[in-house]
Every structure is written in C-alpha cells, then in structure tokens.
Symmetry: C2
C-alpha cells in the first residue's frame, strides 16, 4: 500500500486528504496536525464580535478524519527528510511516505516594535488567539489595532462591536491598500469612522508601552491609551520546516508549479505556505485566502495519489463584511495594472440592490477595470449593502473567460423589485466604460485635427 503523508491539518491539509481519498481510495493517508480543533480562521473576527460562538465553528479533526478513512495524528512535525522520505514528530514518531503534501499554513507577521512582547499584545490567527482575546476584552476599554489590511479591518470592526474604543493604525495612505484602489478604500475608511473607530492612516506605531502588560501605544509621537493591542499586519508562510530539506522557496512561500508540485519529486504543497501565481500577470503573489487554499488542496490531493488536476492561478476574489457593508474585489486594481504597465479603462456605476422603492433596498457601487487594448475585463471592486458575492463571482468568471466590455453590457440578468433592480449595476458600469472609451476616441480625433 502506498503512503501519503500530509503535514498540517488546517483547511488546505484536510481538503488535500479527503480529495486524495476520493481520488484513490487504496492509498493510506496520514494527516499530522498539532491540534485536533478544525475551524475556518476567517470566522475568528466574528467570534470576537460575538456574532458566532466558538462552539459553532470548531469541528473535531480526529472525528472528521475517522469518518473519511484518514489516519489523524495529533503531534508536531519537527523534521522532513526528503532523501529518506520520512517525516519525524516531536513525540518521536516517524512516518514513511511515498507522497508528501506540505500544508503548514501561515503565521502572523510580527513587526519589530519596541514593547511588542508585552502581555496584552495579541495576534488573531488561531482559535487559541481568539480565546485569549475574548478573555482579555471582558475587562478593558481601549484597543489599538496595528495594520489596516483585511484582518486589521475585520478585527477593528469586531472590537468596536464589543464597545471598545478602537484605534486602527495603518502605515499606508489608505486601508486595504493591496485589495482596493484609493477611492474604494476611502469608502471603507468612512464606514469605520462613522462607526466610531479612530483611524490613523499614514501612521506608524513607534512603541508599545507598559510594565509587563500593555498600557498605551505611541503613534506619531502621541500616546494612545490601550489595554489591548492586536497585530493585523499580515500572515507569512510557515516554511521553517522546509528550509533545510531542499524544498525551494521563492518569493515568500514554497515554490510550486501548476500541479502544486515542489521542486522535490513527490512532494506537494498547498495553502498559506505557498506562493501562488496571478492568473492575469503570471507573477508570484501571496493569496492567503481559504478559497485559494481549497483549490491548492484539491489539486495537490488529486495529483499526490496519481490523479490529474491543475491549478491555473489566482484572481484573489475576496469578500469582507464590515458593519453593514460588503466589500468585494477580484483581479487587478488600477494600481496593480499600472505596476504591470497595463493601460486601463474603468467603468463605474452606483445602483441599488433592489428596486429603489422597495423596503430594504441598499446602495451598491461597482467599479470595473478593463484592459484598454483588448477591452477585456481584468478586475472589479464592489461595495454594497447585500449581494456583493454573486457579482464578484460573475466578474471573476468573466475575467477567466476573457470577456469584453460588450459581453458584460449584454448580460442577461434577472429582475424582480423585491430582490434585484430593473437596471443591473454591472451592466451600467460596463456601459459607463464604453462611453468613456468613445469619448477617448473622439478626443484623439479632435486632437489630431488640431495638429
């Protein structure tokens, strides 16, 4: 019998395991993880905000494995020996493999700030982190969140919902600087401010102050009271295990090809520990999303046991809920396009999520980004009160399938007053882009005539 060993039992590891089992039921699959608690890290901010309970989101990894015919070992891998095809654990066990999948995930990036080691400074990556934060915030009033990416924004909103005074510190000019263009970031910033979050953009935490426990934070020379500090400065691939065993690291994560193979034969990798390739630019990038991990895992799990599957790259389709708005994005931002020297034309439209007169109708704003040269859609950003996911998914599908402005204008959408308005906001945004393109053409004509 052939052995597949999987290092890591988060989403990437577990999905790899069940995919492998379905692909080739005769393979002996062993999954090694240091905890038997299985959960979606994306749910943790909603635990902090008390919208869901910890018991709602945690499953028993051992039980899940048992049900699927997978051996589950709760232990910590300390060595991967790719020469002898053996994995060694802290408890002294050895597992021989024919095929290996590395799914070690990511670990929070900790910025070098004086005082960062103090009690009361937290990250939010694991359920243990969430438990600790839940315990601490019971008795405190003031929080500082460091980092205005997706995690930082979600944590800030969650703490604010728990009635803490929240200050969010972001080093860039805008929140979500990688995900959104500035004018969309500005909407999120307004939403956070309206809800009482103190936003400090263009700002750096100089020091965290306290004796043993955090007491305050120095930002731009000002002292801000804080009994809790949460670090949301991103996640870095956990690759310390593979550093010495010949597995190549490129960029920040493990280098894989479109089959999720590493440079070592029969060793695959999946999830947050891996660098992904952008479907649009071909460049390596981090795409630490559950949906990306799932795709990695289904590909690695299939290929590791003799099946055939490919992973063609990422668009980073992303969704955030912040207070009462949904924020979605996919593909390239205008900023990304500029960096990649792609000429763009954008289309923007504001609409409603239902007929404007219907109770519960909410605003929605769509920005589509097209490659001007071939008029194909390469990105979108959407902020609205509901129904953002379906629209982002549609645009992501359109990007993969090389759709043009005209294809989106001709979208055969549905309508009923209670649930979708008569004019589709994606169509309106695409029409806006077409009009802009026409104006550009006319302008060039006029310019030429003035030569």
């Amino acid at each position: 019998m052939r052995n597949l060993v999987i290092v890591g039992g988060g989403e990437a590891g577990f999905i790899s395991a069940i995919t492998a089992k379905k692909t080739n039921p005769r393979v002996n699959i062993t999954l090694i993880n240091d905890s038997k608690e299985f959960y979606s890290p994306c749910a943790l901010p909603f635990v902090i905000s008390n919208e869901v309970g910890i018991e709602d989101i945690v499953d028993d990894l051992e039980e899940m494995c048992r049900e699927s015919g997978i051996n589950c070992v709760i232990d910590t891998v300390v060595l991967i020996d790719t020469k002898n095809r053996v994995v060694k654990t802290k408890n002294g066990h050895e597992f021989r493999y024919d095929s290996l999948i590395i799914a070690t995930g990511g670990t929070p990036f900790i910025p070098k700030i004086p005082g960062i080691e103090l009690d009361g400074v937290h990250t939010l990556k694991t359920i243990e982190d969430a438990r600790r934060i839940m315990e601490v915030i019971k008795g405190v009033k003031n929080a500082v969140v460091i980092g205005g990416g997706a995690i930082g924004v979600e944590i800030s909103a969650a703490l604010r919902k728990r009635n803490l005074n929240v200050t969010l510190v972001e080093i860039c000019e805008h929140l979500l600087p990688k995900a959104l263009d500035p004018e969309f970031s500005a909407i999120v910033e307004r939403k956070l401010s309206e809800n009482g979050i103190n936003l400090l953009l263009n700002s750096k935490v100089d020091e965290i102050i306290g004796e043993n426990r955090v007491d305050s934070v120095i930002v731009n020379g000002d002292e801000i009271k804080a009994e809790i500090v949460v670090i949301g400065t991103g996640v870095i691939p956990r690759v310390e295990l593979v550093r010495d065993c010949g597995i190549e690291i490129f960029g920040r994560g493990i280098k894989t090809d479109g089959f999720m193979r590493t440079n070592i034969e029969n060793v695959y990798a999946a999830g947050d520990c891996v660098d992904s390739r952008s479907l649009l630019t071909g460049k390596l990038m981090l795409s630490q999303l559950a949906t990306t991990a799932l795709r990695h895992a289904m590909t690695a799990g299939t290929n590791a046991v003799g099946g055939y599957a490919t992973f063609e790259g990422v668009l980073n389709s992303m969704l955030l809920k912040v207070f009462d708005i949904e924020i979605g994005r996919t593909g390239l931002t205008e900023n990304d396009a500029r960096e990649n020297e792609i000429e763009t034309i954008t289309g923007v439209a504001r609409g409603t999520t239902r007929s404007h007169y219907f109770p519960g109708s909410k605003e929605i704003l769509v920005k589509l980004i097209f490659n001007e040269l071939n008029r194909s859609i390469i990105g979108a950003q959407i902020i609205g009160g509901e129904g953002v996911a379906g629209k982002i998914d549609l645009i992501a599908f359109a990007i993969v399938n090389n759709a043009r402005i005209e294809d989106l204008i001709k979208l055969k959408y549905c309508y009923t007053p209670s649930s979708a308005p008569p004019r589709n906001v994606i169509v309106l945004a695409a029409e806006n882009a077409r009009r802009k393109l026409q104006r550009r053409e006319e302008e060039r004509k006029r310019k030429f005539e003035r030569i």
Copy 2:
C-alpha cells in the same frame, strides 16, 4: 428634422424614446400613451401585498419625457397607416413619422369561463387593476386565483399576505410549468401550501357563479366561496392596431429580426407585443419580461434613429420572490431540452447562503442543466433564501459565453462567513454533474463488456 413616433409609453416605449434621444439628439421624438402614469407592472403584486405603496412606484410620464426632450402625447392611437407614414389618435390628431416604434405591450389573456364577466373578477396588469383590487379586498375574505404561472403565484402570495383565504387553480400538474422542472415547482408548491394557500393542481375552473358579483367558483365540480377572482393566465401581445396595416405577426406577437425591425421598412417593435427568439434553440417564444423589453427597446431605439444595435435573443432569466424564498431560472429546463431533442446531464447541489453556522444563513438549492454532447451549460434553476439573482446572472453569462462543466467547477468565487459560504453551491452542482458523467461513462464500459 426627422420624426420618430413611438406608440406606447410603458417600459419598452419610454426606454426606446430615451435611447433614441441619446443616439441621435437631432431627431424629433413623439411618444403617445393613453395614460401619464409610468410604472413597472412587476411591482403590482407588491402593491397588493402592501409591501410598497402605489405612490412609491408611479412616475409622471409627461415629466419624464419633458426632462429628456421627448414630446409626450396622452392619447390613444387608433390607426397606424404605414403607407402614408401617419399615426392617428382617438382625439383626432395625426402624427407623421419617418421612423416608428410599436410598443403596445400585452393584455391579459381571459379564458372562456362562464361567469368571467361578473363584477369581482379581476386581472392585474395595470395600476388601475391594482387600485380596483385594493378597493375590493378591503371587505372580503375569500379569493380564487386562476393560473399558476409567475403572475398567478405572485398574486396568490400577495393576497395571502393580506390574510385572505386563497385558492390557486392551475390546469397543469405543476405550478410555473414553463419556468421550472417538476421537482423545483414542487418546492414552490410546498412553500405556498405551508403559507396556507389552497392549491388545486390539474384543475380547471368550470364556472364562476354569482348575481352581478362573483360569489363562488366551481372547480372540479366543487364550489369554492370567493368574493374576488383574479385571472393570472398570462399575457398576450396587444397587436390589434397592427393587424390591418401590413405588419407581420408570427407566433403570437409581432415578428421582428435581430435589429427589432418589422417587415415594414422603418417600423420597429419592442416589448411585450413582440415575439422573441430563444438564444439557445433559435425558436420564437414569448419573453414578456421587463428585462427583455429593455433590451428590445434599447435596440429599437438605437436603430430607429440611424444607430446600430442588435438583439441576439433571450434566455428568459427570471426571478420571483414568494414569501421568504427567491426562485430564479435561466435558459432551458430539462423539459425544454427534451422537446428540443437535446441530451442533458444535470448537476444538483444543496448549500447555504452564508457559512452554515452564521446567523441568517438560509438554504439554497441549485440545479444546472448541461448539454451532454458538448458539456456546455444550457440552463439553471435556483431556489434559496437570498442571493439567487447574482447566481442566475452568473449562469446566464456562462450560457451566453458557452461555458462547460469544467469552467464552472473552476469558478474563482469569493467567501466570507457572514455573506458567502466556503464552498460555492454552483461549483458543487457542477462537480455533481461531472461525477454523473463519469458514472455514465463507466456504466457504458461495463455494459459493453457484458455484450
């Protein structure tokens, strides 16, 4: 100056007018309509249910036209003279045209049932109909709705929300027989029954009984008390004006080509009075949806004043809200495919609209229909608690763009627990179809080996 005359000022007529104005601002545009009240007929059931007020949905057509530089004439057209290019009205006015758009809409189909002329028997197509029904239901308890298509189902739900005892009578075996396959119709039937609507399928109204006013209805020989009867047996194109002026009617509506041209030069038609062509089968069909009227109108309005636009056909993407579920469909049903001799493979999946543990998460059921020969998507039916519109729109886009099972499996969807689940239900349904296809292949292999 060239003259464009538009007969009819509903959605098709008005959108034709403003499209023409934008396309060619130098054309003199006259829109003739018998009422100055402009509204979406799709909103009328929600008026009946008291979810929206009449004042919310009615706009002033004269004002709307004035703002857009369109001449609005409130009058009734009695004659179209295509030889002399003149339109004559009831009030004795004549309008000469260079270009004409016919947008006369539809009129409810009235079945031949004894007693159908009694007071208390209503249709729901115009805002006047809605006013009359609103007046009548104030004092009554029992309603019978004839016809279980979209209109009949919506009216039944609306009357039930007003606490009437409602009996819905449908001649076919299932509700929504053209829009959905039987197993999806059955879900709608269950929802109506759960909400206290008395459903009579496979049933015919034999007679409506009463002296002057309706008193009861005979169905299958049984007498059902009813102080109000609403007819929801569909809408037929209003074509009486064109019958004698040489404009060709094909099927039930005015025959048009892909430019919305009738057989008479410079005469166009748009909206419910027109037969549309199915994008998938090429056959003529009625597609009396606001979204179809809009596409017709944008095409006719552009072409009638010297622009260039085409209309490539319909998928009948449709959305209904019935109590707390949204019902969406697009493209062909399995029934449609069978009638058109298309071999199909379906994929079905049940999911949730958010992460299953998240408050407010609702069930959603997706059925995808593929052409087995080339694995391309040709239809979908979706019933769920929220977010159905976005998914139907995505599938409609996939149909138009010839997507295959594999393309949907690779959908780069977004996820966050509060708004979209980690496993996309469209992907799950496509995976289900692929598994079925693999089983079919294996079965054929086994069968062959037994020969």
